[in-house]
């Protein structure tokens, strides 16, 4: 690990004031320290925000829930309100990592976790995300875990997390405080970026920006499902995951919020898929058309070609469960 200066922030203003181009906040540290040991990341300075007063889960006035940025994944998944009103979020968090990691990982940090692309981790290889302009080895390499949606010629990495996928389906917002003390709200679905020609930028955070909370709107009535497909039964990243919040009325789909993990550089939502489903009677034919729409622009890179038919099957299965039509193949 490269040497770095360490400073513990006394409060939020102190934290944002200490920010600079090559300073990084550290909270749980489980992803950052892993990457620093490998020198994939080499900040000059760590600003320790782990003791800031941001570890509370509180009800909002409109019936939603405010999850402080330092609430651990364990505490969020186990919170009675999350389990009762936002089960898709509890399930998504519990689908990720291990008990030890969830005890350390925080809500804000988890949003910022970096890709698991093998070439991003391998400093002997070109990677536009790690070393802008060096090229993308994954395009010509082993790309089993890589993106089929929204990728660019510069980067085919995926966002690896589960928590943010559920938050995207729940229309949650990220509360961010900037260095000048201003606070703003960004929908989770707009927080992560597509790689384009700037894959080094995972999300929309600017220097000094501090995530202070994630705000969940009041829960929508209906079924909430998190389905994750991976290479092992536990403790593995998603090859494809779906967070679904589906409301039925009179035998028809009244609303369907669907977010996909493991497929793109961000939790993926497709408004056209959701519109196609809304107001319709569930059927295998309808689910097939939803999958056609979702995957119309999908592109495999070789080793990950299987994700296209896999995603189709997982979507059809999840929609069947969410609309109580059973396995609608």
């Amino acid at each position: 690990m490269r040497p770095f200066a360490y400073a513990r922030a006394g409060d939020r203003a102190d934290a944002t004031a200490r920010a600079s181009d090559n300073a990084t906040y550290i909270a749980g540290g489980t992803n950052l320290l892993d990457l620093m040991k490998l020198e994939v990341m080499a900040p000059d300075k760590l600003v320790d925000i782990s003791r800031l007063d941001l570890a509370e889960l509180t009800d909002t006035e409109d019936g939603g829930l405010r999850i402080g940025a330092l609430v651990t994944n364990s505490d969020c998944a186990a919170d009675g309100r999350v389990r009762q009103r936002y089960p898709v979020l509890s399930r998504a968090i519990l689908a990720g990592a291990s008990g030890q990691l969830r005890n350390k990982a925080t809500t804000g940090g988890n949003l910022c976790q970096r890709t698991r692309c093998y070439y991003f981790y391998d400093t002997a290889m070109p990677c536009n995300k790690r070393a802008p302009g060096s090229g993308c080895q994954a395009l010509q390499g082993f790309n089993r875990i890589h993106a089929i949606l929204g990728a660019s010629d510069a980067c085919i990495a995926t966002y690896p997390g589960d928590m943010a996928v559920a938050m995207a389906a729940l229309d949650a917002e990220v509360e961010i405080e900037s260095a000048d003390g201003e606070s703003r709200l960004i929908p989770v679905r707009d927080f992560h970026r597509l790689p384009g020609d700037q894959p080094e930028r995972d999300n929309i955070l600017e220097v000094g920006d501090l995530i202070t909370a994630v705000i969940l709107p009041p829960p929508v009535a209906g079924r909430q499902i998190y389905r994750k497909v991976r290479d092992r039964a536990s403790y593995a990243f998603a090859l494809c995951s779906i967070a679904a919040v589906v409301k039925m009325e009179g035998g028809k789909i009244a609303s369907a919020a669907l977010a996909f993990g493991g497929l793109a550089h961000k939790p993926w939502r497709d408004d056209e898929v959701e519109e196609l489903l809304t107001g319709q009677k569930p059927s295998a034919e309808l689910f097939g058309r939803a999958a056609d729409q979702l995957l119309a622009g999908a592109r495999g890179q070789g080793s990950n070609d299987f994700k296209i038919p896999l995603t189709r099957r997982v979507l059809v299965s999840v929609l069947g469960e969410a609309t109580s039509q059973g396995a609608a193949e």
Binding site: M1, A5, T30, S50, Q100
Partner: protein, 169 residues
């Protein structure tokens, strides 16, 4: 250099170390507490699991200087020869190891995991999120998936944990 006070197994320790020193390296290389093991050093194997402020964590993925004032329990603090903890005794009785390298992490992890289940925390395999069932073998395996055993002593590890957790969740 960072100055850090760590309360380990009830005893106060003073640490002067580079900011890069992980809690794992502080325990082993600075404080001589070698019961905690270094496996992968990347949070994948769980051999380094210790209990900090009541929570099990990977000591390899946290900086010692971030734990000023924290209470830490390592395998040495759970029991000792002649006075084993219930889980330590159960691992012996059920032969829950072969080479033994992952064992301190397994036992620290299981000790805290049983408390998590007692507190009603659900897991990925819990059918009912709001009222999770007790620690079935499937629940134990899921909740212990952050601890790898290269000798694959898993069946006996589950047996040992089930014996101690039985009737307690």
């Amino acid at each position: 250099m960072e100055t850090t006070e760590l309360i380990i197994n009830g005893r106060r320790h003073h640490l002067e170390a580079d900011s890069r020193v992980t809690l794992l390296d502080a325990l082993r290389n600075h404080l001589g507490l070698t019961g905690t093991k270094k496996g992968c050093d990347h949070g994948q194997c769980g051999a380094c699991t210790v209990i900090v402020e009541g929570r099990r964590i990977n000591s390899c993925l946290t900086l010692a200087c971030m734990h000023d004032g924290d209470a830490i329990t390592t395998i040495e603090g759970l029991g000792e020869p002649g006075n084993l903890s219930d889980l330590q005794a159960a691992f012996v009785a059920h032969d829950g190891f072969q080479c033994g390298y992952c064992t301190p992490g397994q036992i620290c992890s299981a000790t805290a995991m049983i408390e998590e289940a007692k507190a009603g925390w659900p897991s990925f395999v819990s059918d009912d999120l709001e009222e999770p069932d007790g620690l079935s073998d499937e629940e134990i395996s899921e909740r212990m998936s952050g601890n790898l055993c290269r000798c694959a002593a898993y069946p006996n590890i589950v047996n040992a944990i089930r014996q101690v957790a039985g009737g307690r969740t």
